[in-house]
Amino acid sequence: MKILPLRVFVMWAALAATPFVAMFLVPPMAAATASDIAVTTDAGAPVAAANSPAEARAPQTEEEALGTVKAFVSALRERDWGDAVGLGVLLLVFVFVRFVVPRLHGTHAARITAGVLGWSSYVAANVRSGDGAMDILITAVIGLLVVLAAVLPLGVKPQQPIAPATPATPTAAAVSDKGHGQVVLLTLLALVALAGLAILTLTTGCGRIPGAVKADSLDLSERLVPYYQVDSSFDDARRESRIEVVAQHVATTNDGWMTRPFKDGAVLVSCRLDGYTRSDVLLDATKKAELLARTRAFRVAVGKPAECPAEVGR
């Protein structure tokens, strides 16, 4: 039985840790998703319109120049430039894996290792950025294709044949064993990196819902359903469908992940409850104010604006 050397375990640990390092290097921007920035100004104009080409004209004064820099930084934080930054990072990974690594360490194994590292870090950074799940999947696939293009020996001249074995050189069997070991090692490295990514996606990309928020979410959902049941403006199909969505939100809450769909569901439930609370003649003013304050606090607790967006409807 062969025993893996210590350096192999060190490499595993380093590779598994890479996504987590990337996670800490990229600041969390979960609050800057599209739905979060789709709020309107006092004048009713969408905030996102501040980044329209008409406003991106050349600055006239120092104040405006400063404003432009702030807008640029803000746009970066809101990931309006996320695609461009992502492509730039991918290009860097490609150049590094395809051209820099072979100069530092000539083996194919080194390129694969660098590719796995680059790809896992790229995906981890995407997860950390608070992007939507589908966006992360899409960028992960694009990143994988780029890394594969960098790793696969496309357009690379074939290696020189190994010189015939002499007493001073390793035998063919020893060379074969070494190559075999590298393949096993790289498979393990890739799996450890993927394990790190999977755990990262499930945990850090969307943290656990705090206990108090979870309890509030379940309680507010429970309060909303009776209003749906007696709402005379609903036909049976709409009533059933609305109750089903609340049930789905309860299931999402019980899953326990603070994801964007959970947050959107939280806004939906709390804002609908707000509407019913305001028009509920059976509730006294104190109770109404108490409930409205609670739903506001709940929205803030899940990282959403306290005010209900108009798109929630009724």
């Binding site: 062969k2 393990l188 992940w257 009724r314």
Partner: protein, 95 residues
């Protein structure tokens, strides 16, 4: 890597996780989300008579996004379950 029956292992993995089915459902739901967002945009006015229609579209969007999340969480959980299986299979074959 002849010590591992990759074909069987791969088949079991695909059967258990239903990766292809999951991706197909994800694609369908993502398309549906785009459609509901378009519907929602059409109702983005101050007209109170559209409140209910807007509410329906918003509900549909939330429901679809939550279904997508469930799908991804399930897929991730399955993948995590499989990693030790694959690792132990490889280690058992080569160590």
């Amino acid at each position: 890597m002849s010590g591992v029956d990759w074909k069987d292992l791969g088949k079991d993995f695909l059967d258990d996780t239903d990766v292809f089915g999951a991706f197909q459902r994800l694609a369908e739901r993502s398309t549906a989300v785009a459609e509901t967002k378009a519907r929602l945009a059409l109702t983005a006015t101050d007209d109170p008579s559209l409140d209910l229609v807007r509410g329906d579209a918003f509900d549909a969007q939330i429901a679809l996004e939550q279904q997508i999340q469930h799908e991804i969480v399930n897929l991730g959980s399955k993948a995590i379950e499989w990693i030790p299986k694959i690792l132990t299979t490889i280690l058992a074959a080569y160590l």
